[in-house]
Structure formats: structure tokens, C-alpha cells
């Protein structure tokens, strides 16, 4: 290898590493700042159980805060999102996925900041939404910034986004391996060494920042020895199936709530406030529904902390209230609520099990953890990540294996019934369908008009067949596009179709009127489908008004397909 090549490799590796560390560090610090700010707001606004116990002697104050804080928070969120975010919605992991997968313009930095602020207000004022979605987007936002630098690295943007996301998850969960896997499993959707190396560096950076520098406490800790009986794995699998059902209910509720809010509340920015008020009313009765519910999550693994009926009630309330908050436009994720509902359901299952199957079992903890991870993995479509989170948080092999069984069974069912994840569902609603893998989704984002050719023969509507034939012979083509005076495409004349026509026949009579055509929005994927059964040389591409813009030769469609798929394969198989 010559010295230039060596220098190039050195440049690549050191730049990529530097980007990973900078993006990872920034995302990690931002994540810590975000989480701390949420805690601060929760303390100040009487949302956290701790703050509420302090104010125990002022019940009126607590009740007022419970009712008014989420409503006021909702109003702020509604106004922020409606007037300051260009997309008029919160930015979330699907936006990160889209930005990493496609080369299109990502949401701007300002939108990102305001969306993050709205998420902060949502979480801070006790809305029942998750913190990891906003954190993932925060990481992606820094990645996107780094992706815009002119560093001359291949796939710079997608790798930088993955770095930011990995660091955010690594910091938030104290789980660097899970962060690494999440970035690949959910954001990148492939495992190339080129991406793997920097994302690992970013995840490790997040871990160092969170653990070594700031010494963040773990999300939860459990005392668990081991799974006592082998038959319990059947219970874990069954629990996974139930969790898939619960995930389905959750998704249905989310959709129903969104359509209810659109249907009944005409003013978009007022929707979160209404949800906040409803949330407050439920919280007067069941305070556990407020906020992220970290303490509730921790109590769920403790025997005796909840009665079985109480658990059932909290699960239902939290499900409904979370759907309400997200559907009505509070900004935040679904992962934390899914974790909480899952762990409560797991505890419920663990408590109910002795009544259903009277055989000894290993206690509440393992069922709670299984439920948590099974539900969460079904919702975010990341089985490997959730299994690793269990492993990294509990360092317990037995718990991990038990959770693995539940997670896999939950995903088996939920993948069929719901789809891979909520993110993919949301992306599909926006026309980016990942259900058949990256190829189709990416092919759908590329427009075939990029392959437009201006080399074609035109015929005017007043031309005769003879004139058209002569022109075709002169230009060596077999097809002519018939347009009117305004340039609108009327039809196509194919040489083989007019061989027997009289020379004086008007072109408009001899032309084919039903033919394959593309428009400006036709994607490469769509064009491939339209080409099925096509016999001509090139497909005309028309504007929305019907004007002929050019043609796309058959060869160009195949070329487009090959190029895009080649890029994807190259990206997936790249070395560092």
C-alpha cells in the first residue's frame, strides 16, 4: 500500500473516532442534563413521590398541583409545538431512523431543540410519556449536526446519528452494549464494521460519562438468585404471549386516542392541555400514573408493595393515560411507559400465577422483569436491546435468560399482529415502509426523476404519421411522444404500431393512449413495479399538470435499482 493510501486510512480512522467521541460525549452530557432537568421539575412541581410526601401536610396544595401542573404543562407544550416546530409534532426515534436511512433533509436544529424542550416540559409536568424517545432524538440531533461537517467520510450522517443515539441510550440506561445494539437494531438496521466501530466508541463514551465521571444511579436494581424450577420457562413464554397482547392493546389505544383528539378538539395546540387535565383527574385517585414513575417501577419488584387488585388498576390506568397523553400531543416516548406497564403487569402475573397454577415458583422479581422487557421490546421492536438491558442492569445470567424467553415469544406474536414496532408503524404512515427490509424502503425514497433523460423524439398533435416516422428514422428511435401546444403529453407512437398506417393519418389518431407513465413523485420502487409488462424503450415522465418532462429509459430504471442496492450492500459490508 502506498503512503497516500495509508494516510487516507489513518485520516479515516482518526476522524471517525473523533466524531464518535465528540458526538457520544455531547449526546451523553445532554442526556444527563435532560434527565436531571426532568427530575428538578418533578421535584419543584410536586410530581415526584418524594416531593409529594414532603408536602403531605398541605393536601390542598398537592391536589391543586396534581390537577393544574399537567394541564398547564400541556398548554405550554401545545403552544411550543404548534408555533415553533416546523413539523408541528414532536420529533422522535422515527425521525432519527429516517435521517439515518435516507439522504433527505432532516428536521432542523431549531425544531429539534424546541421539540426537546417540549418533551422536557411534558415530562417535567408529569405527563405519562417516556424519556428515552426524546433522548434518542437528542442524540440523533447531535449526530445530524456532525453529519453536516465536511469531513469526507462515507455514510457520515448515518454513522454520526447512530453514534449519538447509542451514547444517549448507553447513558440513560447505564448500558453501553444495549446502546450499541439499539443503534444498529433500530436506527441503522444493519451491522457493518464501519458503523460498528464508531458506534461502539460512542456507546463507551456515554458509559464513561455516565458512570465514571458522573456516577449515575442505575435505573433499577433487583435482588435475584436464580430460576428455581425448569418448568417456569413455560410461564415466561406464556407471559411473553400475554405481553404481546398487551402491546397490541397499547397500540390500539394510542391510535384511538389520536383520532379522538383530532375528532373532538379542533384547536391542535389545546389538545395536550385537555389531556393534562384528564391526567390530573386520574392522578388525584391514582398518583402512580404521573410522570415516568421511577419509584413505582422500583416498587414493582418488591413483594408486598402492591396488592394484586391495586396492580390491575394501576396497569389499566397507566395504559389509558399514556395513550391519552401521547395521542393528545404531549411530547415524549413510549419506552418508559412500556417498561413501567410491563413491570407492573409482570408483577401482576407473578402474583396471580400461584392461583392459576399451584406449583412453587421463583418469586416476583423474575416475572416482573420478564414482563417489563417483553412488553417494551414489542413496542419498540428491539428484542436484542431489551435482553441486553436486563443483562447490563442486573448482571444476572438467570434473569437475562428468563427475560430472553419472554421477549422472544412476545416478539413472535407482536411482529405478526402489530408489525415490527411502533416506530415502523409511524414511518409506514409517512410512506417509509421498513416492513420488508431496508431495500424496499430506500428504493421508495429515491425518485426516478433523478434518472430523467431528455433524449427522446417528440411529435406535435398536428403532425401526421408520415412526418413522425421520418423523424424517428432520422433519430434512430422507435418511439415518439405526442404532445400538444402546451407541452402536455397526449400519447405515444411506436414505430411497430404505425407500419401499416397511411402516412397522412394524423398522429393523434395513430397514437397509443393508454401507456405506462411516471410522474415526479414516482419512486424507483414504484417504477420497477410499473415496468412490469412494459414493452417500449423509455417511459415518459410527466409533471402534475401533464406536461412531458422527459423520459426514463428502461435501462435507467435498472441502473437506478442496481446503484441503490449496490450502495446498501456496500454500506452493510464495509470494513472500518
Amino acid at each position: 500500500m502506498d503512503s497516500k493510501g495509508v494516510a487516507q486510512i489513518f485520516y479515516q480512522i482518526s476522524t471517525v473516532t473523533l466524531v464518535a467521541i465528540v458526538v457520544g460525549g455531547a449526546a451523553s452530557l445532554a442526556a444527563i442534563g435532560f434527565v436531571d432537568a426532568v427530575h428538578y421539575l418533578n421535584e419543584r412541581l410536586l410530581i415526584s413521590p418524594y416531593a409529594r410526601v414532603l408536602a403531605e401536610d398541605r393536601p390542598t396544595l398537592v391536589a391543586a398541583a396534581t390537577l393544574l401542573v399537567p394541564a398547564a404543562g400541556g398548554l405550554v407544550v401545545g403552544l411550543l409545538v404548534h408555533f415553533l416546530v416546523r413539523e408541528k409534532r414532536g420529533l422522535a426515534p422515527p425521525d432519527a431512523i429516517l435521517a439515518a436511512q435516507t439522504s433527505g433533509a432532516a428536521p432542523g436544529f431549531r425544531s429539534g431543540l424546541v421539540s426537546t424542550l417540549a418533551a422536557l416540559v411534558s415530562l417535567g409536568s408529569g405527563a405519562s410519556v417516556g424519556q428515552y424517545g426524546p433522548l434518542v432524538y437528542l442524540g440523533a440531533m447531535f449526530g445530524n449536526l456532525a453529519g453536516q461537517l465536511r469531513l469526507n467520510l462515507r455514510h457520515q450522517r448515518s454513522i454520526a446519528i447512530a453514534c449519538g443515539v447509542a451514547a444517549a441510550i448507553s447513558t440513560a440506561f447505564n448500558a453501553p452494549i444495549a446502546g450499541l445494539v439499539f443503534a444498529h437494531e433500530v436506527i441503522l438496521r444493519h451491522y457493518s464494521l464501519r458503523a460498528f466501530a464508531p458506534v461502539t466508541v460512542a456507546a463507551a463514551t456515554g458509559y464513561v460519562v455516565a458512570n465514571v465521571i458522573f456516577d449515575r444511579p442505575a435505573l433499577f436494581l433487583v435482588n435475584f438468585d436464580r430460576v428455581e424450577h425448569s418448568y417456569e420457562f413455560v410461564f415466561f413464554a406464556l407471559e411473553g404471549v400475554f405481553c404481546a397482547g398487551l402491546a397490541w392493546v397499547f397500540m390500539r389505544l394510542l391510535r384511538a386516542s389520536a383520532s379522538i383528539s383530532r375528532h373532538y378538539i379542533g384547536v391542535p395546540w389545546a389538545r395536550p392541555a385537555v389531556a393534562g387535565l384528564l391526567l390530573g383527574m386520574v392522578a388525584l385517585w391514582i398518583p402512580e400514573v404521573l410522570g415516568i414513575g421511577q419509584e413505582t417501577l422500583r416498587f414493582a419488584t418488591i413483594e408486598g408493595a402492591f396488592g394484586i387488585g391495586e396492580l390491575g388498576l394501576i396497569i389499566m390506568a397507566k395504559l389509558v393515560v399514556t395513550a391519552l397523553c401521547i395521542g393528545f400531543g404531549f411530547i415524549g416516548g413510549v419506552f418508559s411507559p412500556a417498561l413501567l406497564i410491563g413491570i407492573l403487569f409482570g408483577a401482576f402475573y407473578g402474583l396471580a400465577l400461584p392461583y392459576l397454577v399451584p406449583v412453587p415458583h421463583s418469586g416476583l422479581v423474575v416475572y416482573a422483569i420478564c414482563g417489563m422487557m417483553a412488553l417494551a421490546s414489542s413496542v419498540i421492536g428491539a428484542p436484542l436491546t431489551t435482553i441486553l438491558i436486563v443483562f447490563e442492569l442486573t448482571r444476572s445470567y438467570d434473569l437475562t435468560i428468563a427475560a430472553m424467553v419472554s421477549v422472544v415469544f412476545a416478539n413472535l406474536i407482536s411482529y405478526r399482529v402489530i408489525g415490527r414496532s411502533l416506530f415502523d408503524l409511524q414511518l409506514r404512515a409517512r410512506g417509509f415502509d421498513l416492513s420488508l427490509g431496508r431495500d424496499k424502503a430506500i428504493l421508495q425514497t429515491h425518485r426516478i426523476r433523478d434518472y430523467l433523460s431528455s433524449e427522446y423524439t417528440t411529435a406535435l398533435d398536428q403532425n401526421t404519421v408520415g412526418e413522425v416516422c421520418q423523424r424517428l428514422v432520422r433519430e434512430g428511435r422507435a418511439e415518439a411522444m405526442v404532445v400538444d401546444g402546451q407541452g402536455r403529453l397526449l400519447g405515444v407512437i411506436r414505430l411497430q404500431g404505425v407500419v401499416n398506417s397511411a402516412a397522412k393519418t394524423p398522429a393523434t389518431e395513430a397514437m397509443i393512449r393508454s401507456f405506462t407513465r411516471f410522474d415526479e413523485e414516482t419512486s424507483v420502487w414504484k417504477s420497477m413495479e410499473l415496468l412490469r409488462g412494459f414493452l417500449g424503450e423509455a417511459v415518459p415522465l410527466v409533471s402534475r399538470k401533464g406536461e412531458l418532462l422527459g423520459v426514463v429509459p428502461e435501462e435507467a430504471v435498472i441502473r437506478a435499482y442496481l446503484e441503490i442496492v449496490h450502495d446498501l450492500r456496500e454500506e452493510e459490508n464495509e470494513a472500518a
Binding site: 413521590p49 444511579p217 436494581l221 418488591i302 408486598g304
Partner: protein, 400 residues
């Protein structure tokens, strides 16, 4: 030489009449001024006298006097406010020390006075985390533990906090200190709440209720104690089968008096004592010199060979061997023994006893304040129905 005046002649005559007092006064004038240490008395102070005070006087000629101190920062504040500052050094509980520091009652201590370990390890690596502070140097680790009467359980022995609450397997009375300290902590620990999350969860209504319910389960078997010696007596006399108390007392009873008492180290509540220098002392330099002397590894080990409180620096821990008088190995009785630390809880002192004066204690202290204030308002903790009373209070508030 000075000329003798009639006045000094008078003094000589007077001195004959009151010889001892004047002799002392003379020695104070001529010899170096004594350092005054405020400390805790009893066998603890005796161990300090043997390990630190006397050797220091021997090495420097500076005598050490002690005054009795029972903890807290108010007493220090009052002493400073009195205008005649006599105390130079106070042996404070770490949380008190940091509160006193925030309140400006303590002089800063230059960390450079601390000597490295004998093998050259710098002090900041040798001391426990958080031991070296702007205002204090933490020197010992003490512990409140659960102990049991060995005779009461001839078969399987209890070995966890959970067993303390298990009246079925381990029947008998439970002696508990008549104070919220440790009660709620142990109640939650017995439900396998991870110790790292103990105070977080205890700071919620659900946590408090859970702890109170747990205590209620053993309510009828509780004997309350107030003085440190009581749990030892209750166990040796057979009145209680299990008791909470200070590890030093249990050690003393077991090792020196052969009492049939075993300690359960699971869930031990760790506390720290620290050397501090009073802000307005004019002997700050001498005080710092004493602290440097008292925190030498060999001196800390000497104290730990007299009383089973763990030294706060590793090099001293390594030097702890046999009890100086009894000859029993000390290490297994140290709260800091590695096997004991696995399930130790570092007591959040502020959680229970909020310090109004300290900004650091306010945030973490108020929840504890609620417990204490609710408890005392309804006289909950200090009567036999304490726990039920507490629950009744909470329940009634919930119903409103």
C-alpha cells in the same frame, strides 16, 4: 533574670498555700498549651486516649484534655457563640461535620497535612471515598447491627435482616432502639429492597407505609431500648432473642465478657466519625498537627486494636491484628471487613435528622423530618403502639 518584686514575693507565699493549682498554672504557662478535644466518652474515649492522646503528648509534650460531646451541631454553635472558645478539635459524626462546615462553624483542614501510607500510597487513595473533606478528615467507621442470642437458636442461626422479622422461624422478643434511626431502613431491607435504592424508596408514601406495615408485623414482640448497653443486657439475660445495637458493644460483650452474642452483618448501618477543627480556635495549627498524628496508619490501627471500629484508611485496616488486651483477632469484628461491606447500608443521617441550618441537609432531610414530625406529633414512635399509630396517621390522612 527578672528582679523579684514585692508582688512576686506575695505570689510565692500564696503558692505555698495553694500548691497544686499553681503548679498546674505554672506548667500551663511554661509548658505548651493543652489541646482540647470534644469527644464521646466511655470505652471509645479510652481507646482514643491510649491510641492517640497519650502518644501525642509523649511525642510533642502537648497535653490533651477532653470535654464530653454527644453529637449534633447546635452545641458547637452555642459554644462558639459563648465567646470563650475552648474546644480545638471535635470528633464529629460525618454528616454533622459537613453540616457544621456548611454553617461555617469549622476551620478548613489542609489535606496536605495527612501523611501518606507507610508504603507511600498518597492519602487520597488510601482513605475511603469522601473521607477527606474541606472541613474534616474521617477516621473511623462504626456500625449499628443486628445481633442475636446464640442460645436461643440452637439449630439454624439467623443470618439476614429478613430473619429479624421472621418470628415464626426465629421466635422471641426483638429489642429495637426507641428512635426512628434504622427502624424503617431495616423494615424495607427485609423486603429485599436493594440497599442503593433504600432511601429513595423510603422517601415515598408507599415506601413509608410498606416499612410501617412490616414493623407492624413484629410490633407485639418489640422491646424498646434507649441506652447503648441495654441491647447487650437484654440479649445476655435472655429477655430478647434478637436486638439491634452498636457493633462495638456487642464485640466487647462477646470478646471480653464471653457473652453468647453473635452479630448479623447483613444490613449493617454504617456511620462515620471525623476529626474537625473548631473555627475560632487559636490553636488551629497545633490541632491540624494532632489530626495528622492521629490519622497515621499505625495510630489508627492501634485504636482499632482496642475497639472494633474500622479505620477509615486502607493501610490502617491492613495493620489491624489482635486485640491489645484480649488477644482475639479484631478483623472479623470490624464493620469494614470486606465480607461485611457487601450488604452494608451507608446511613443517610440527614434523612432521619434534618439539620435546619445546613443547606446540604434540607433537601434530603425533609422527608425524614416528616417521619419524625409525624411520629412525634402523634407520639407514635415512643409508645408501644408506635407503628400502628404511624399507620393510623397515614391512613387517616389518606382518607381525607
Amino acid at each position: 533574670m527578672k528582679r523579684r518584686s514585692p508582688m512576686s514575693l506575695f505570689l510565692i507565699v500564696a503558692s505555698i498555700l495553694s500548691a497544686p493549682a499553681v503548679l498546674q498554672a505554672q506548667s500551663e504557662q511554661e509548658g505548651p498549651e493543652a489541646l482540647t478535644v470534644a469527644t464521646w466518652g466511655g470505652s471509645y474515649e479510652r481507646s482514643q486516649r491510649r491510641a492517640y492522646f497519650d502518644p501525642y503528648t509523649e511525642a510533642t509534650g502537648i497535653p490533651i484534655e477532653t470535654v464530653h460531646y454527644d453529637g449534633g451541631i447546635e452545641v458547637l454553635r452555642e459554644h462558639l457563640a459563648s465567646g470563650e472558645v475552648e474546644w480545638d478539635i471535635v470528633d464529629m459524626i460525618q454528616s454533622d461535620a459537613s453540616a457544621a462546615c456548611e454553617a461555617g462553624l469549622l476551620a478548613p483542614i489542609d489535606a496536605n497535612i495527612l501523611e501518606p501510607a507507610p508504603d507511600g500510597t498518597p492519602p487520597e487513595e488510601d482513605f475511603m471515598d469522601g473521607a477527606i473533606h474541606r472541613c474534616f478528615v474521617t477516621q473511623i467507621v462504626f456500625s449499628t447491627v443486628i445481633a442475636f442470642d446464640d442460645r436461643a437458636f440452637p439449630g439454624v442461626k439467623p443470618d439476614s435482616v429478613e430473619d429479624f422479622f421472621d418470628l415464626e422461624t426465629f421466635p422471641g422478643k426483638r429489642a429495637l432502639r426507641k428512635s426512628p434511626v434504622g427502624l424503617l431502613e431495616w423494615a424495607l431491607l427485609s423486603l429485599s429492597v436493594p440497599r442503593e435504592q433504600l432511601y429513595d424508596l423510603l422517601s415515598t408514601r408507599r415506601g413509608l407505609e410498606l416499612a410501617a406495615r412490616r414493623l407492624d408485623e413484629i410490633r407485639d414482640s418489640i422491646i424498646w431500648w434507649t441506652r447503648g448497653q441495654e441491647p447487650v443486657d437484654l440479649l445476655t439475660s435472655g429477655q430478647a432473642t434478637m436486638a439491634t445495637g452498636y457493633n462495638g458493644r456487642f464485640f466487647h460483650a462477646r470478646a471480653m465478657e464471653n457473652a453468647p452474642i453473635s452479630v448479623i452483618w447483613d444490613g449493617q448501618l454504617i456511620g462515620f466519625n471525623s476529626w474537625t477543627i473548631v473555627r475560632e480556635t487559636h490553636q488551629a495549627e497545633q490541632a491540624a498537627d494532632f489530626i495528622a498524628f492521629a490519622t497515621r496508619a499505625e495510630n489508627m490501627a492501634a485504636q482499632a486494636s482496642l475497639i472494633s471500629y474500622g479505620p477509615a484508611r486502607k493501610s490502617a485496616q491492613k495493620r489491624v491484628g489482635l486485640h491489645t488486651d484480649a488477644g482475639v483477632p479484631m478483623r472479623p469484628y470490624m464493620p469494614t471487613a470486606p465480607s461485611h461491606m457487601d450488604n452494608a447500608v451507608i446511613r443517610d443521617h440527614h434523612w432521619v435528622f434534618p439539620d435546619r441550618g445546613s443547606p446540604g441537609g434540607v433537601v434530603s432531610g425533609v422527608a425524614g423530618g416528616i417521619v419524625v414530625s409525624v411520629a412525634s406529633r402523634y407520639r407514635c414512635f415512643y409508645n408501644p403502639g408506635a407503628v400502628r399509630c404511624l399507620i393510623a396517621v397515614w391512613r387517616s390522612e389518606q382518607l381525607q
